[in-house]
Amino acid sequence: MEILSKVHAKNLIRWAKNKPKVLVLSADLTSSVEIDLFRDTYPERFFSMGIAEQNMLSFAGGLAREGFIPFVHTFGVFIYRRAYDQIAMSVAYPNLPVKMFGFLPGVMTPGGATHQAIEDISVMRSLPNMTILECGDVTDVESVLDVAHSIDGPVYIRILRGEIPRLFESNEPMVFNKARTLCEGNDIVVLSSGICTEEALRAVQALKAKGISIKHMHISTLKPFNDPPVIEAIEKSKYGVITIENHSVVGGLGTIIAEEIAKAGIGKKLVKVGLRDTFVHGASKQYLMKEYGIDAMALIYEVEKLLGAKFDIKEEELSKAFVAAVHSDAKAEAL
């Protein structure tokens, strides 16, 4: 598996080169959210806003009204928790093209509950005009800018930083409202998003070896959700669907699928794997994913339950997951 470092940092300067309307706003986490290279390359398009997110979001609304496309960068929690009213009234209501890059989604940080965006999808999803995208690998991070840019309105992006794996072919970019099919099958549908897709890939590989037929799809557009093949796959499945996400089970991918199933009138079982309506604490991603049950083994356990079978799969048998070092040159701090 290819592991790349500072993908967004490098990609952004290449991508934004001929886009003079794109301005980058920072709330004092410039190197932590990989925009230091942009600051140094295009200083005239970089604006420091200080540790003042409420002003930053309304300010971005003002810039967008005048034809600029502000790329707001900070940790996800500081976007939607600190500046929700500002996003709602200065950005979402007027449907302005402000693109919000939320880093450290869910359990991606040992920074603890203050730094972990575990209900951001739920909160942002209820805002009219808001689009929500989530990246699961290097290819997603490289191609999410085109998708976000093509949308005439505000976009919230759950993005990844530091050292990240490439799970998808580099010539198969993220497509708006189109899931990536990673495995074909018809016993069960597994829908995964963000960093959980890597875990699901590991689990599905092991389950396939046991003869289970699984349709695995990676979801990158969370709102709007308009992807008929996903619903068709659920309808065709023998046992139902399992969602797995790096987010609370309240309001995220699992909830989205529940709504879609109900809307389509499909009588299939849905199992939601995610943070079970709980805050989490400061620890490594690997520890938290295992502790709170959003990893490959948790998914295998839920598949066993749904199928009423035991496959006796040991964790050691699974392919290795990528584990980024807590301290590395790819990150400014060990957060």
């Binding site: 200080g50 003042a52 300010f59 003002g62 967008a64 005048e66 009234m89």
Partner: protein, 312 residues
């Protein structure tokens, strides 16, 4: 300019004071008719609005006053944006842009647009009527409005974004904000002042109605922000403090040479100015709702008196 009656030349000062009185009268008349309204805001800010529209802001002249249309829906993909800014004329690189920050002053703004010949007087009949854009707390589709500012503190940050964008585009027009002192208690206000100072947004001009009242009563009892001028100065702003009912003083500061700092004109005002009967309310100034028909009648008589003295 000469006018009939006494054949006396009418100075610009007279014109502005006349417009200010008109604003008060429209708001008071409306309040009596509708059994409630934001009168004290009109009392304190009438001269500020009148001076802004008649003397300070460089806005496109309109051929005739506009008549408000019906509400067409909120902004969204595939929908045309309906902006109340058309009442302030077309946008252009040299024109100023007006932002009403405390939207509770919407009624005052509508009255000002009428006084300035930008909105048809009948427009006020649509105030707070279902399906109308002449909303009580105006949104960006309401006459004279351009941005969403009903949630206090957001107007200044959005204005700062517009000001920076205009600088980047090389536009020379200013971003003129009307603000009120109460909303300056918010953290976002101070975040915005520090950002406007830091990014040298000297194309921002603020007229702040310092009437000393907020919803709960007197600001000095609820949450003091004085010394307001000193606080603003320490945040890097250029600050002037004037009598907010003195149109000459207000006008004189409207065309200063930019000096790298955002400019604040703090206008000390009286929330009962021109309508003495309001003094009876003590500190309950934020919104006037009559407790009885007798009180309403009292205001109606006061209004008749004000109107007849004004006509002399």
């Amino acid at each position: 300019m000469f006018e009939g009656k006494k054949n006396k030349p009418v100075s610009w000062q007279d014109e502005v004071y006349k417009a200010a009185n008109k604003i008060r009268e429209l708001v008071m008349e409306h309040t009596i008719k509708n059994k409630g309204g934001y009168i004290s805001q009109a009392c304190s800010s009438a001269e500020i609005f009148a001076t802004l529209y008649l003397r300070i802001m460089n806005l496109e002249k309109l051929d005739k006053p506009l008549i408000p249309g019906r509400f067409q829906g909120t902004p969204g993909q595939g929908k045309d944006r309906i902006s109340g800014s058309i009442y302030n004329g077309a946008k252009g690189p040299f024109y100023d842009r007006f932002i009403l920050s405390p939207t509770h002053y919407s009624l005052v703004l509508y009255a000002a647009l009428i006084a300035a010949g930008r909105m048809d007087p009948d427009g006020l009949l649509e105030f707070n009527k279902d399906g109308s854009v002449v909303e009580m707390i105006g949104a960006e589709h309401s006459p004279g409005m351009e941005v969403m500012t009903g949630s206090l503190g957001q107007g200044i940050s959005q204005g700062a974004g517009i000001a920076l964008a205009r600088k980047l585009k090389g536009e020379t027009g200013r971003v003129v904000l009307f603000m009120s002192d109460g909303e300056c208690q918010s953290g976002q206000f101070w975040e915005a002042v520090q950002a406007a100072s830091f990014h040298k947004l000297d194309n921002m001009l603020f007229y702040v109605d310092v009437n000393g009242y907020q919803c709960d009563g007197k600001m000095e009892d609820v949450m003091n922000i004085e010394p307001f001028d000193k606080r603003l100065e320490s945040f890097g702003a250029r600050v002037f403090r004037v009598d907010g009912h003195d149109v000459e003083a207000l006008s004189a500061l409207g065309n200063l040479k930019p000096d790298g700092r955002p400019t604040f004109i703090l206008c000390d005002t009286d929330a009962t100015r021109g309508i003495d009967i309001l003094k009876k309310r003590g500190s309950k100034m934020h919104y006037v709702r009559f407790v009885s028909e007798d009180e309403r009648e009292e205001y109606r008589l006061a209004f008749e008196k004000i109107k007849s003295s004004d006509a002399l």
